[in-house]
Symmetry: C2
Subunit: 391 residues, 2 copies
């Protein structure tokens, strides 16, 4: 219980409650009072003090996360449904948000390294405690909705390989390879050789160990380097979950890297989190989870990566509901591991990650975020699939 | 045989031959002379006089077609292979072409009517003489490459219906319905009711007769009106081969029409000829075949039709090789019908259409043109397919 509630706090809370009421979200102050007057609420936000209330009013996109993380904002009635309702409220971007998205940022090689280190070097033990056994940290493909997460990650990797039409002996380059699962899968199941790039030191070290253990070190080379330093010619270019970290200002660079890497009959696949309309990433997610990240619209990617290099879009698939389901699995596993995680880090870290995972699920469920897989080839190539593959 | 060949003509011909030689195309003057020095040529352009030679040098994109049409430029060795080789030469657009494409044009309701009349009101007898029995004048889908044109047009219509996930009793609006084949197919095979718009008087009259003959007049309404006048709410919005005629300046209008027509759980599909890079349509095609037409890039469509209305791209498929095959079928049939066509019109008309069809096949074969099918829904709708359909 905090300090007593003054008239100012009550007035401010009433204003905030008015905004939240259409979403069916109840606001409760630190003395238990609420002015909520709607039907049975979806859930309740419990505000611990005046500072929290002010923060959420003035800068909701950042302070909601900050306060939840520090425990001064609590959510009763299920985090994900409440976030979903709030996300729906905010689906119409303000002009300020739209305009700011035009100031596209990029990430220097140095900065990209810091950004990636912030998130992906939290420790392989941490990620092992709640990801699938192969450590695949991107959207899975639930060919059937009742698949296990393990099965759905394999189905995703297989779908990517089939879309790319990989043939034995071909050379593949992977930009942003995580813990190496896809690179090893491609080499093992499709008989290709792979050079896989990543600037996360921990992930690369882990991936190299796996390649050795699985007897694939001869065919899969893990390179601890930036995608901008990719050299050589490849029949396939693949990047799963990296584009979000590139930043729109560096898309022309990525386009040139792809263009100089692909053989005349080469194919490429980009798999990334995107948007229907340009909008900056939530500022709390940018501060606490993914510094430097930006989920683009298809228009932004096509205009800056593909068009300047005469690359031809062959096939696009939007898998956002599959990402919502992937996140549902991750959240269940994270819940089960949360005591261990609290020991590795602390309670603030656990709340931060709970909010990030639940908020992401809400974003994909409500259509605020998309997951695009884009298959492409050189415009001049006729070595393209006659009909497309599906699940 | 034309007049004698002077030194100026020889110099100019030598310049032109230099340009054509990398494509393996031989140039022959009206006295039979040629400076071609490459390997066995793909084919020969035979120029009948100085005026033709000058025209092709000064304004090749327009005059090639004009001269072929008037018979002063002849092609030996197969029209399509020669056009393919020349198209490949021109695949890198000049800056002048790129810049001009930014001056996006639109078409007023009046002008759209004139443009459509120019092409689609050439007479149903004419189109019946070489299209498939259902008169489907858009890219077919050759699920298997050895399908007949008839089968492939049915496969295309069925693919469109499956992508849209049509359910019995749903309401569909079609923008630009040709002779009504898809509208009738949807009503018959999927049990939906259809309002189909078209501004071609001849096509609408024909479609209405078919609806009556097939006993579908109660469920399919053919409306002789512009897409801008679509009113009402529909579970599905479909447009096959109309966007090319809309003009980029009117895409925002089309976007608003779609937005006001779709129910909350509605789906839409646009099927259109497009490009990998913005480029105006060949000026001869614009003058003689499709006035007011413009094949857009995906970026242009997404930025002007979808993004402003928060529509979500679910699925894109590029079927350009299927259009090349469709055109191969059409050309074979047109050849067989060419005597009849010459009687309906004249020899110039036949040459014009031969060039248009062969040039289009070359454009799809070389990757200068694309055929995109784009499936979309409202960004807020979760009534979207879990996995996509394929052939």
């Amino acid at each position: 219980m905090g300090s007593s509630v003054g008239w100012l706090a009550r007035r401010l809370a009433a204003v905030l409650q008015q905004h939240l009421e259409p979403a069916g979200v109840r606001l409760e102050l630190w003395d238990g009072a609420s002015t909520y007057a709607g039907p049975r609420p979806i859930g309740t936000l419990v505000v611990a003090d005046l500072r929290t209330l002010l923060g959420i009013l003035v800068n909701p996109h950042l302070q909601f996360g900050e306060c939840y993380m520090h425990g001064t904002l609590q959510v009763r009635g299920g985090l994900e449904p409440v976030l979903e309702a709030i996300t729906r409220l905010a689906l119409i971007p303000s002009w300020r948000e739209r305009i700011s998205s035009y100031f596209a940022t990029g990430n220097s090689v140095q900065r990209a390294r810091r950004n990636v280190h912030h998130h992906y070097d939290l420790g392989n033990d941490f990620y092992s405690s709640w990801l699938d056994e192969r450590l695949v940290y991107t959207c899975a493909y639930f060919e059937r909705p009742d698949m296990s997460l393990e099965q759905a990650q394999i189905a995703k990797m297989d779908l990517v390989c089939r879309k790319l039409g990989l043939q034995e002996g071909e050379r593949v380059v992977e930009a942003g390879c995580g813990w190496g699962s896809l690179a090893l899968f491609m080499a093992r199941q499709y008989g290709v050789s792979v050079r896989a790039f990543n600037i996360s030191h921990e992930q690369i070290a882990f991936a190299r160990r796996r390649a050795k253990e699985e007897g694939l070190a001869g065919r899969v080379t893990f390179v601890e380097d930036d995608y901008r330093n990719i050299r050589g010619a490849y029949e396939a270019f693949v990047s799963i979950g990296m584009l979000e970290h590139v930043g729109a200002a560096d898309y022309p660079t990525l386009g040139r890297v792809i263009d100089r890497s692909l053989t005349p009959g080469g194919r490429g696949l980009l798999h990334f989190i995107g948007r229907n309309q340009p909008l900056p990433l939530n500022p709390w997610i940018r501060r606490r989870i993914f510094p430097g990240a930006y989920p683009p619209t298809l228009r932004e990617v096509f205009g800056r990566v593909f068009e300047p290099n005469a690359l031809s879009v062959l096939d696009v698939e939007n898998l956002r509901l599959h990402y919502a389901k992937t996140l549902e699995h991750w959240r269940r596993r994270f819940d089960r591991a949360s005591e261990d995680v609290a020991h590795m880090f602390d309670a603030t870290f656990v709340r931060t990650w709970e909010l990030y995972l639940a908020g992401s699920q809400a974003a994909f469920d409500t259509g605020s975020m998309q997951l695009f897989q884009v298959l492409f080839a050189r415009g001049s190539s006729n070595a393209i699939p006659w009909t497309r593959v599906s699940g």
